[in-house]
């Protein structure tokens, strides 16, 4: 993997691009992405948020097992591989969240009776893992060139003991927090596609967190746009 620096620089590595969004604003950690870094999958991406890093690969549209075939749309399968050991119940529930978010944004009806497989390999978990997985998934789907109705991104908010909201928390901040909320936001209307929470919180805090996530999502969508533009400006 290419090493990268803090400022908004672009480095080229065998046709692949590694980009970094410098975090001048303290609300999100420094994040970066590399697309089509694997040769076998139809689309791949690795997404880095601070020290959290997830690698995603997409296969498909391909042939589907008869038992999983759906007559009017493609079957999407999401596999989450943890850094160590075998997938547990926690990974299953993450898979469900990522799969249903992708299903909402992908135009699956364009590929009936076929299968799409999205594999997410956790490389390192330092908090906000679910949001990083969502971002990696979206970048990989884009890289695979699958038709989508909108893009999506994940934002994690932690509410600490004093009631302050921290976006994109590290593992240590997550541990100290009173509540942890992860949202997936869509790119067209900035509405909430997915919500997964831990800990108890008030209605007001929920609304605040949604507003903060929607604001933070702008940055991530801008990053998606910039990175895709840079990538294709070289090839076209």
């Amino acid at each position: 993997m290419t090493s990268f620096t803090c400022d908004e620089s672009v480095s080229l590595c065998e046709g692949n691009m590694m980009e970094v969004c410098g975090s001048t604003d303290s609300c999100l950690r420094e994040f970066g992405c590399e697309q089509s870094l694997l040769s076998r999958p139809d689309g791949s991406a690795s997404f880095v948020q601070g020290d959290t890093s997830v690698l995603a690969g997409v296969y498909g549209p391909a042939e589907v097992k008869v038992s999983k075939e759906i007559y009017d749309r493609a079957t999407l399968e999401v596999l989450v591989q943890p850094k160590v050991g075998l997938p547990t119940v926690k990974e299953r529930s993450q898979e469900q969240c990522v799969r249903e978010t992708c299903e909402a944004s992908l135009l699956l009806t364009l590929h009936p009776r076929s299968s799409l497989t999205l594999v997410l390999q956790v490389l390192h978990d330092d908090g906000s893992l679910l949001s990083c997985s969502l971002n990696a998934a979206c970048m990989a789907l884009m890289d695979a060139g699958l038709p989508m109705s909108c893009l999506f991104c994940g934002v994690t908010c932690a509410i600490d003991a004093d009631g302050r909201i921290i976006t994109d928390p590290t593992a240590a901040q997550e541990k100290e927090s009173r509540a942890l909320l992860t949202f997936a936001v869509d790119s067209t209307e900035r509405k909430v596609l997915m919500s997964s929470t831990r800990g108890s919180f008030s209605v007001h805090e929920l609304q605040q967190c949604i507003a903060v996530s929607q604001k933070a999502s702008e940055k991530i969508f801008q990053f998606y746009r910039d990175s895709v533009r840079r990538r294709y400006s070289k090839t076209l």
């Binding site: 969240c97 990522v98 249903e100 997915m194 997964s196 929470t197 831990r198 108890s200 008030s202 949604i210």
Partner: protein, 277 residues
Amino acid sequence: MAAGFKTAEPLEYHRSFLKENCRSDGRELSEFRTTTLNIGSISTSDGSALVKIGNTTVICGIKAELANPTVESPGKGYMVPNVDLPPLCSSRFQAGPPGEQAQAASQFIVDVIESSEMIQTEDLCIERGKLCWVLYCDLMCLDYDGNVLDACIIALLAALKNTQLPEVKINTETCLPEVTSEKKHRLKIYRHPVGASFGIFDDSILIIDPTAEEEILLTAQLTVVTDEEGRLCSVHKPGGTSLSGEKLQECITRATTRQKEIQKLIDKVIESVKTAQ
């Protein structure tokens, strides 16, 4: 004729009802099915409850065992919830290891227990670092007709309220635990979380408490869990189409009233069990 239409065009069938602001089973859009509760259904378990929401049936049994506390938290006992969706309850589940839905439901129940702090795990500790209670909470769906998460939370809460643990003392001479089965005490439940599930039909119509037929056609599902103080314990939306802020607020308000209804129901059933004894 109607039966044929339902099988051939289920989406159109349900749409024709929703257009008239009602549902195929005669309910309004924001109406729950009848919820029935039976507490203490399994006499051999330490606590149990059976919940029916319409046809959906979930039974919960609680088994308490003595165990060693974990090294990370020597002053705490622990709970092991498990949701089982056997092939008996619906044709969509196969025999063998638990499927994704069952595993996701188990994880959801674990999250609700932790988030709501309904039980202080310190209460389950008998002697620090040596002995504690472990509560195996087994939730089994007997009939799957949608909205299994709500039923699971109610069953779990009612079963925990029904649980009685015998008194345990550690003999100072032999260092072995001695159980006094005659002296039993109830578990202290600190908070009462109750869930309310919603479905989004055709990206816009919000329905409450979906049946299995409706669940297949929904574009998104949402479960809101609140406690008696109106605090949110979980806002679980695993994906699907997006939801506006106003709709979400509507769901939260409905979930709060649902919590009050269910808590009243549980209290009433517990009271009737006490008078019967």
